[in-house]
């Protein structure tokens, strides 16, 4: 059983939804980014999405775009991202918190899907979310991911209708990521009603856990999603908090990591205090 599946089983046993936290690897610099990563599980993140910064993040709004640019400027690379995960597993001894790499396919393709999967698995990565790799193009990656025990978390959107869903779910493992709004990251938020009905619709098609993301910023919003979904994903609000912890020259101010982790703790409290509907 994969680390992701195990984590969702545990959440189910605990009768609560999980909190998925997104950070961009290398934001605002490699050392600070690692400190944040290291602190996430204790702060209450159940699953970690580690963004792989890309020059052209077409599905991301201004917050994640800026985070990626800070990281690229600080010299983040794919190898450095793998190193972060390897170091996390080694230094924290945390063998339970799943870490997914999230990003765009070109970085995987340039290394070669097979080599990429091998290196990711060896570093302690558990799966991928590749925004621009729909099921139609996933054949190139899926066999290698499976061979190395990596989950492929696919996105579904409000536009993914009942007719199309089976084709998407065929490639999905670990959990299903529901993009709750039409749009890019960090812009709009869905209503609780919309989340409820979409999650119910997805549940009719799959036994996989459903994580809901896009537009969740506050503990209250996270709690509302946690009433209906198996996990709430928060990204832009976290990378905005990273930005708020920088001085005008872009250097981390004292207390950056503590500030980010305090926000994660507040979000986790929102999720953990919620009884599933």
């Amino acid at each position: 059983m994969s680390r992701i599946t195990k984590r969702f089983e545990k959440l189910k046993a605990d009768k609560r939804a999980g909190l998925v936290i997104y950070i961009s690897a290398g934001d605002p610099d490699l050392a600070s980014s690692y400190e944040i990563l290291k602190g996430l599980p204790a702060a209450g993140a159940d699953v970690i999405e580690l963004g792989m910064p890309f020059t052209d993040p077409m599905a991301d709004g201004p917050s994640v775009q800026a985070a990626g640019q800070r990281a690229l400027k600080a010299g983040i690379t794919v190898d450095a991202t793998f190193d972060m995960v390897r170091r996390f597993r080694r230094e924290t001894g945390d063998g339970d918190t799943p870490i997914l790499l999230m990003g765009y396919y070109n970085l995987v393709y340039q290394r070669g899907a097979e080599r990429f999967c091998k290196a990711a698995a060896a570093a302690g990565v558990d799966g991928f979310i590749l925004v621009d790799l729909p099921p139609e193009e996933a054949d190139e990656l899926k066999p290698h991911a499976t061979a190395h025990g990596l989950d492929t978390v696919l996105l579904t959107a409000p536009t993914t209708d009942d007719k199309r869903l089976p084709a998407v779910l065929k490639y999905a493992s670990g959990f299903v990521y529901f993009v709750s709004v039409l749009g890019i990251t960090g812009t709009k938020s869905a209503t609780e009603d919309a989340v409820r009905s979409h999650v119910a619709r997805l549940k009719r098609h799959t036994k996989l856990p459903i994580a809901v993301g896009f537009g969740i910023r506050t503990p209250e919003q996270a709690a509302a999603v946690a009433r209906h979904a198996d996990a709430a994903v928060v990204g832009s609000a976290i990378v905005d908090r990273v930005k708020a912890g920088l001085d005008p020259s872009g250097k981390p101010k004292p207390g950056l990591t503590a500030g980010v982790l305090a926000d994660v703790t507040a979000l986790a409290a929102g999720v953990r205090g919620t009884v599933k509907a």
Binding site: D56, N106, P134, E137, V168, V179
Partner: protein
């Protein structure tokens, strides 16, 4: 290298692939919309009424067919191949972009879309889209890199006059690639009502094939015109390449005519060896961006690098996927011309033929000035003069140190 297929004109396959290239690398939100578009385009393509409406507009609104013109003085000057220009700069709005836009905006209307967005580099595609949207009374938003907004000011004004909203994009290098990112971001949020009118043979399937089909009017006319004027097919075709739509429009109808040599000219910027250029096929390698797999300018990791060209319309780190495939098949030769070579060609054409070309086809012309002298006098060379230079006069004046 792969064995030559029986025909170079049958692509893409049903998944939108030209060999390794093309495809549909988009966010899931867009995927169902792209499948809808593919279906709607397939139906429109087979519908005589749609084709009739498009042909009517091409003839009576855009002014097609564009002339095929024997450039006698240039031919004498270069002393080799017999040079013809396909005069697509004479189309309404001043470039080949209108051919594609009329098709797509008609399709948008047919699909019941109520808003059109576009990306633009030189502004020619933006102007063409704004024009068609004015004609059909559809709200239009054009995304344009802020660097291009500055260097193509006349086109920005034209778009505004035509009722379009121009949104300057300041992300990344603030040129065409970033405008396309921003258009895609808008589209993800508005896809249920909005039609994304892509300006070149790039993007996710079905765009590369659809835009090619709309641009093939160029090559189809050339076949007819050169038969009338010379009684035979041309020997050489030359066109400039940004994303590759004017080139594909000229080339595609001739791909299966083995005797026709076909040359695409990318923007060499300050020289391919300097790294500051926009020659994706010469200086890049296959990667995935903007919905398709194609040759891209990128670093070792796969981060996209910034293109450079004096011409805003060629300043793009990618190229349409079908060109990538044609390169690997060896059917089309791809070369490059530098900023300085294009500037020299721009001036030459003004003086010799009384035609002010856009900086984009000036790149094609720069290559013609190198190639034609080496060819025999009976070699029929057709170059796509795909745009006029009015939009570029300020930028060229600045480069030449002249006051306008």
């Amino acid at each position: 290298m792969a064995i030559s297929p029986n025909s170079f004109r049958t692509g893409p396959d049903e998944r939108g692939h030209f060999g390794l290239f093309g495809g549909r690398y988009v966010a899931e939100t867009l995927m169902p919309l792209i499948l809808d578009l593919e279906k709607a385009y397939g139906e429109a393509k087979a519908d005589p009424q749609f084709q009739g409406e498009l042909n009517y507009l091409l003839a009576h609104y855009a002014g097609r067919p564009s002339p095929l013109y024997f450039a006698e003085r240039l031919t004498k000057h270069l002393g080799g191949a017999k040079i013809y220009f396909k005069r697509d700069e004479l189309n309404h709005t001043g470039s080949h972009k209108i051919n594609n836009v009329l098709g797509q905006v008609l399709l948008a209307k047919r699909m019941g879309k109520t808003r059109v967005i576009a990306e633009t580099g030189a502004g020619q595609h933006g102007v063409a889209t704004a024009t068609a949207c004015a004609l059909f009374d559809i709200p239009c938003v054009v995304f344009m890199g802020s660097v291009d907004v500055a260097r193509q000011a006349p086109n920005v004004f034209r778009m505004k006059m035509l009722g379009a909203e121009v949104r300057p994009v300041t992300a990344g290098s603030s040129t065409l690639k970033d405008a396309m990112n921003e258009a895609l971001r808008d589209w993800v949020a508005t896809c249920e009502t909005t039609f994304y009118c892509i300006g070149t043979v790039a993007g996710p399937h079905p765009y590369p094939a659809m835009v090619r089909d709309f641009q093939c009017v160029i090559g189809n006319e050339v076949r007819k015109q050169i038969m009338e004027m010379e009684g035979r097919l041309p020997d050489t075709l030359v066109a400039c390449i940004g994303g590759g739509s004017n080139a594909m429009g000229l080339f595609h109808p001739f791909l299966d005519d083995k005797g026709v040599r076909i040359v695409g000219v990318e923007a060499g910027g300050k020289g391919v060896e300097t790294g500051e250029h926009a020659a994706s096929l010469t200086g890049g390698r296959p990667g995935v961006l903007h919905g398709n797999r194609t040759y891209l300018l990128q670093d070792k990791e796969g981060q996209i690098t910034e293109a450079h060209s004096i011409s805003a319309g060629l300043d793009y780190p990618g190229i349409g996927p079908e060109h990538s495939w044609l390169k690997e098949q060896g059917r089309v030769e791809y070369v490059s011309a530098t900023d300085d070579e294009a500037l020299a060609a721009f001036q030459l054409l003004c003086k010799l033929e009384g035609i002010i070309p856009a900086l984009e086809p000036a790149h094609a012309l720069a290559h013609v000035t190198k190639l034609a002298p080496k060819l025999p006098k009976d070699n029929l060379l057709v170059m796509n003069l795909c745009g006029r230079g009015d939009k570029d006069v300020f930028a060229v004046a600045e480069r030449l140190g002249m006051q306008v």
